[in-house]
């Protein structure tokens, strides 16, 4: 197990290094000089040069890369060029929208998908299975931003139960959760559809295993065998998908945040790209990639701990 974990850890570090180089390189090819963007078209050449110096834009590439990486490792993400505040503070503000939104959506999607998947698998081929599978087909086909628009049309404009957008902050937690509800539902729907399908097929796999037949032969009812043995074993692949979905939800909220005018990480990236605020873009993208890679690593380790066969395989 220790060798397995060590190998995964090594590949984790290598992936992070490779990701940071890729992000840095991509940001470097962006046309447009941030300094001239900040000063406008009428800036004097020497002022421009002085600002470039101050921003470190005149240093050689490897020095800038090194400064960026060591800065991030020590918690210094640099200072935003447009907001004039440390990137850490910006991220700190925004993460308290994006993170709760992702968690909220994940909870909703799990709450919908688990029962749906279990019912579908245990009544395989029946009308309940058919209608649940039909619903998941529809769920994966609906673009979440369109679903968001429909939700706004029904629940914000017609029924007036929720506000159509914006975020009031966490001073009033009930109000904050309420304003995240429609975005979370919009994000959760396609995820729930995918998760329900995975839950169903994973459960069908375990239901076909010999140990289920043994359990039934020992006198357990179908229901008991399902809950005591099948569901537990079926959870392993489902947890992987949940892990992947979490990082997707954190980054994938970008469009939903646009629909609902939520001040989250996605909107921050979007605004920073259009404002050529590269330091924010590279740091936030790196942060998201970091989360994805670490979550995948955690899932791998959890997998290896649960199922010893996997350790030797990879």
């Amino acid at each position: 197990m220790i060798r397995y974990a060590g190998k995964r850890l090594l590949s984790l570090v290598l992936s992070l290094i490779a990701a940071s180089i890729v992000i840095f390189a991509v940001i470097e090819v962006i046309p447009g000089d941030p300094a001239s963007f900040m000063l406008g078209v009428n800036a004097r050449a020497d002022t421009l040069e002085a600002l470039r110096d101050q921003m470190g834009l005149n240093d050689p590439l490897h020095v800038r890369y090194f400064n960026w990486v060591t800065g991030m490792l020590t918690g210094d993400f640099g200072t935003s060029w447009t907001y004039k505040t440390p990137v850490v503070d910006l991220v700190n503000d925004r993460i308290w929208v994006s993170l709760p939104l992702a968690v909220y959506a994940l909870i909703l999607s799990t709450l919908i998908a688990f029962p749906a998947g279990i019912i579908a698998a245990s009544r395989r081929g029946g009308p309940a299975d058919m209608s649940i599978m039909g619903a998941t087909q529809l769920g994966v086909a609906i673009p979440n931003f369109w679903f968001a628009m429909i939700l706004v049309l029904i629940f914000a404009i017609n029924l007036r139960w929720f506000s159509a957008g914006g975020f009031p902050g966490w001073d009033n937690p009930a109000l904050a959760i309420k304003s995240l509800t429609l975005p979370a539902i919009a994000l959760a729907l396609p995820q729930a559809a995918i998760l329900a399908r995975v839950m169903r097929s994973s459960l069908l796999d375990t239901l076909g295993e010999d140990y289920i037949r043994t359990a039934r032969a020992k006198g357990l009812t179908r229901r008991q065998a399902l809950w005591r043995h099948a569901v537990r074993n079926a959870l392993i692949p489902v947890l992987t998908i949940i892990g992947l979905q979490f990082s997707f939800l954190l980054a994938g909220g970008i469009i939903i945040e646009q629909v609902f005018f939520l001040p989250g990480l996605g909107r921050l990236i979007f605004q920073s790209i259009s404002g050529r605020d590269l330091i924010v873009v590279e740091s936030v993208v790196m942060l998201l990639v970091f989360v994805v890679i670490v979550v995948n690593f955690a899932v791998d380790i959890a997998y290896g701990a649960v199922d010893p066969r996997l350790r030797s395989k990879s």
Binding site: A19, M149, I150
Partner: protein, 271 residues
């Protein structure tokens, strides 16, 4: 499940047909504005109503189908043309450094939040249909590379491959002549699924203004335009959304149906 193939095939053919028809005929010209007739709900003259510029929504949907399908097909094409050779190469040289590099490269692409990177790419190189194709296409590469490697590995263990090797064929020729034909079905099925994901991605990019630019019609753009009008003219938001849903649904059903039809083992297993 031939029902899936029929239903999915009908929907896919319908939209593809509309897209092809739009090259020769649309009920109205979508370049000309007709402000006095703006925001009409569906009626006899404009079957699907008009938008905020008085343009015919049916004609816009037809032109939009063209954009969506073109972007998605080309993006899947990038994935297939780059991904499958990489996967076959990795499988032919399994266990080597090259295999390791290709597979770790795949993992790396998977680790990036695809939408964020697509936004980054279109923001860097400018918002256009071409850049949307590239941005979506890049994330199709590892999908096909991983799948084709995974499918090719067990085939390499089979006896007829051994026979081909004994007869002196190079691993390149074996990959092309024996491995590729055996994984084609799987690639077709995956291609259908990636096609539908491409439609969704294109819609998302054009919705935030980073896809095809006006006056080119696109479904995502139509939704973005409709967003502030939902309360006074709901049809402007409902119709393009439904077009996306039906197109994606059709492709997914087609993919599912093809998988069951092409792989009898799955058909028995899934009953």
């Amino acid at each position: 499940m031939t029902r899936n193939i029929i239903f999915g095939g009908v929907l896919t053919t319908l939209f593809t047909g509309l897209a092809i028809l739009s090259f020769f005929y649309t009920p109205y010209d979508i370049q000309s504005l007709d402000i006095p007739n703006k925001l009409h709900p569906p009626n006899g003259a404009n079957w699907l109503g008009t938008d905020h510029f008085g343009r015919d929504i049916l004609s816009m949907i037809m032109m939009g189908a063209r954009t969506s399908i073109a972007v998605a097909v080309l993006a899947v094409g990038i994935g297939i043309c780059v991904g499958i050779p990489l996967g076959l190469l990795a499988a032919a040289r399994r266990g080597s450094l090259l295999d390791e590099v290709i597979m770790r490269g795949n993992d790396l692409v998977f680790a990036f939040p695809s939408l964020v990177i697509a936004i980054l790419i279109t923001a860097i190189f400018g918002a256009s249909a071409i850049n949307a194709i590239i941005a979506i296409g890049i994330f199709n590469i590892p999908v096909f590379a991983r799948l084709s490697r995974g499918a090719a590995l067990p085939i390499w263990e089979r006896d007829f491959i051994l026979a081909a090797r004994v007869s002196g064929k190079s691993s390149f020729r074996i990959s092309i002549e024996h491995i590729l034909p055996n994984i084609t079905n799987l690639m077709i099925v995956q291609g259908t699924i990636q096609f539908s994901l491409g439609i969704l991605a294109e819609a998302a990019l054009s919705y935030i203004g980073l896809g095809a630019q006006p006056p080119t019609a696109s479904w995502g753009r139509m939704l973005a335009d409709a967003q502030t009008l939902t309360s006074i003219a709901p049809h402007t938001a409902l119709i393009p959304g439904l077009a996306i849903v039906l197109m994606v649904l059709g492709l997914n059903l087609l993919g599912d149906g093809l998988r069951d039809w092409l792989d009898p083992r799955l058909r028995r297993g899934r009953v």
